[in-house]
Amino acid sequence: MDAPILGASGRAEATRPAPRVPLGELVFALLMLALGVFALVGAFSIHVPVGVKVGPTIFPIFVSIVLLGSAAAVLVSVLRGNRAEVEEGEDIDPDAKTDWLTLAKIVGAVVAHLLLIDVIGWAPAAAVLFGVVAWSLGAKRWWLAFVIGLVLGLVVQVVFGGLMGLSLPWGPALGWLGGMF
């Protein structure tokens, strides 16, 4: 790809072999800019009651200006070749590539969890969440992950739902247990 217009600086490329066009960064900065536009347009569609002098639109306009200004500044700096500095962490492999499949599995697990809570009860849904996430992160024995998840879910359900009175649904399989509290 020949895109010297973007002028990725030599310094940034020397430290890290990155694609020449930081597509993700540009898209994200554009999204932030779009959010600013949305906020500004939305501000003018807020209904201001008659006779109100300092109304509900003043602060939204201020917020839109902050968003538009800073997002534009990010966009310009990315285009001028200043790449993002990302944080490192104890469990992060700095040389690894982004594993999109694992991310999709984890997000899917949380969505499945929220859909299942009212159907099979909180603790079983918690087991699903824990099991799928642990499995997708590479737990050695997948069944053990589900067992741990179920135990953890039951402990939380009994302590917070049963003893401390938070209304976590018990679900059809554990209804008898819920009856004991």
């Binding site: 993002a84 500095e85 990302v86 469990d91 969505v111 009212d118 996430v133 737990a139």
Partner: protein
């Protein structure tokens, strides 16, 4: 003198057995979660927020004080004992402790960190006791325009000074301000940015945003590039009583005190939080040390000073939080959320209306420090075990508790959906170098700022000049300019310093490997 009587009454409350148990529990669980790798203090506090839902306000705040100090301290154990290759000078201050551990002096590093944290925490809490009532007294007389000025200071310093890029920090702040707008305007009952969706008409709960960004976003970020394979924990040998030699004590006590002197004032002003304090302390110790050559290879001063500075700053952050209601770090912002969950608004009024509660909280900070040191040294074996939790289970557990916390807010599954969406946003923000702390601070302070702004403008009948004409507000804006300039200058120095340090450390590391 009056505040000492109040403090004694606070101790009388906090020393009651049931509250003592809550303080103990808070420190224990705060340290345990803080020790877990990948979990910083902000995430610790956010994750443990739901635990306090069912407690009465005093018990909840006492538990929280324990969690706060425990979480702050827990991280240092992680960085001393966990052997992670590839992470060079990103946390320059953690490096000395890690090197010490590799040389078999991990026990001394842990001990000097623990004792330093205790001393710094206690002295800084005394500072808080002295300073807070004076400041609260002063703040009672501030008008709406003055508060607008204070909030603008918090916005700009947090946005510009947290993270590595000013425009990215300000964007993050803007997103937070925007999320704070979503919902129904309190003064005119108009819906704003709700898209006609019912769950949004009450606004987005800040707990969802904090947990979503810190727990879900961070987990996704780590999951995407998880380090697989064995976990390398450096073993700690010997009984904890014999950890520090006489020489260690002699080399540690001055850095402890200097760290406190650096950390507390920096914590109280909005200048980028504990990071700046630890860096300044490290640089100072390196300059003053008689053992300059040891720096980069495990100098005990390089652990003692920054650890003390870190804890002193943690106490310092509570000064503006309690007296003005201004959070200057992400962790402080989440503590503010905990207050608000009980209908308490930190600020000068809190000192007048709820003195018993405030002073019980301050007293529990003293107790928390004592509990911290009593627990930490003997329990180090347990912390080491925690470091060895297999990562798939660890992160599955974090997500489970995040989802539980979100669900327990209103028992509505839609909250978990919002949590995931915020989590994905947090992932991309982190991936593209946007700090998430300004978002949380912006979302909390935004509605407050709007209220004061509108009050001020109503008083002046729409005349904008009222915002800068008050003597206090005008001074505040000048101070703001100085803070930002000074903060940015400091950060540039820090970056340069760390680069040089990485280069100078790289040589001894290579030498180590050849041996």
């Amino acid at each position: 003198m009056d505040s000492w009587t109040l403090l004694l009454e606070g101790f009388a409350t906090a020393l009651q057995p049931q509250y003592l148990i809550f303080a103990f529990f808070g420190v224990l669980i705060g340290t345990a979660v803080g020790v877990l790798p990948g979990i910083g203090p902000a995430m610790t506090v956010a994750l443990l927020l739901p635990l306090t839902y069912t407690l009465d306000p005093t018990a909840a705040l006492i538990t929280f004080a324990g969690i706060y100090y425990g979480g702050m301290y827990g991280g240092s154990t992680t960085s001393i004992l966990l052997n992670t290759p590839g992470e060079s000078a990103s946390i320059v201050t953690a490096i000395e402790g890690n090197r010490m551990a590799k040389l078999g002096r991990g026990a001394a590093a842990l001990a000097t960190a623990a004792i330093g944290s205790f001393i710094a925490g206690t002295i800084a809490t005394v500072g808080l006791t002295l300073l807070a009532p004076v400041l609260a007294q002063f703040a009672v007389n501030l008008g709406p325009a003055d508060y607008v000025a204070l909030i603008v200071i918090a916005f700009v310093t947090v946005g510009a000074l947290i993270g590595s890029s000013v425009p990215r920090g300000m964007t993050s702040l803007g997103v937070g301000l925007f999320l704070g707008l979503v919902g129904t305007d309190t003064l005119t009952a108009q819906q704003r940015y709700t898209l006609g969706l019912l769950p949004l008409s009450d606004g987005i709960d800040i707990v969802l945003v904090a947990v979503g960004l810190f727990a879900v976003g961070e987990t996704l970020y780590i999951a995407a590039r998880l380090r697989h394979g064995g976990i390398d924990v450096i073993p700690v040998t010997g009984g904890w009583r014999s950890w520090m030699t006489k020489d260690d004590w002699k080399r540690s006590w001055k850095p402890w005190l200097r760290g406190t002197a650096i950390g507390f004032p920096i914590g109280t002003i909005p200048a980028g939080g504990a990071d700046v304090a630890t860096f300044l302390s490290y640089a100072t110790e390196r300059k003053l040390s008689k053992h300059k050559k040891e720096f980069g290879r495990g100098a005990i001063e390089g652990v003692a000073g920054p650890e003390s500075a870190n804890n002193a700053a943690a106490a310092g952050v509570l000064v503006p939080l309690l007296t003005l209601g201004l959070p200057t770090t992400a962790t402080a912002a989440i503590i503010l959320v905990a207050f608000q969950a009980y209908g308490l608004q930190p600020g000068p009024q809190l000192f007048q209306n709820q003195p018993a509660l405030v002073w019980a909280l301050v007293a529990s900070l003293y107790l928390g420090n004592v509990i911290l040191i009593v627990l930490n040294l003997p329990l180090v074996g347990m912390w080491v075990k925690l470091l060895q939790i297999p990562r798939p289970y660890l992160y599955a557990g974090i997500l489970l508790f995040a989802a539980f916390g979100a669900y327990a807010l209103n028992f509505a599954v839609v909250d978990i959906l919002i949590l995931v969406i915020i989590g994905v946003l947090g992932y991309f923000m982190r991936r593209f170098g946007y700090p998430v702390a300004p978002l949380v601070v912006g979302m909390i302070l935004g509605p407050m700022g709007e209220e004061y702004l509108r009050k001020a403008l109503q008083l002046s009948q729409g005349d904008l000049s009222t915002l800068v004409m008050q003597p206090f507000a005008a001074t505040a804006y000048i101070v703001l300019a100085l803070l930002v300039a000074g903060g940015l200058w400091l950060r540039r120095r820090q970056t340069r310093y760390e680069q040089q340090l990485t280069e100078s450390i790289a040589v001894p590391i290579k030498a180590d490997q050849e041996v």
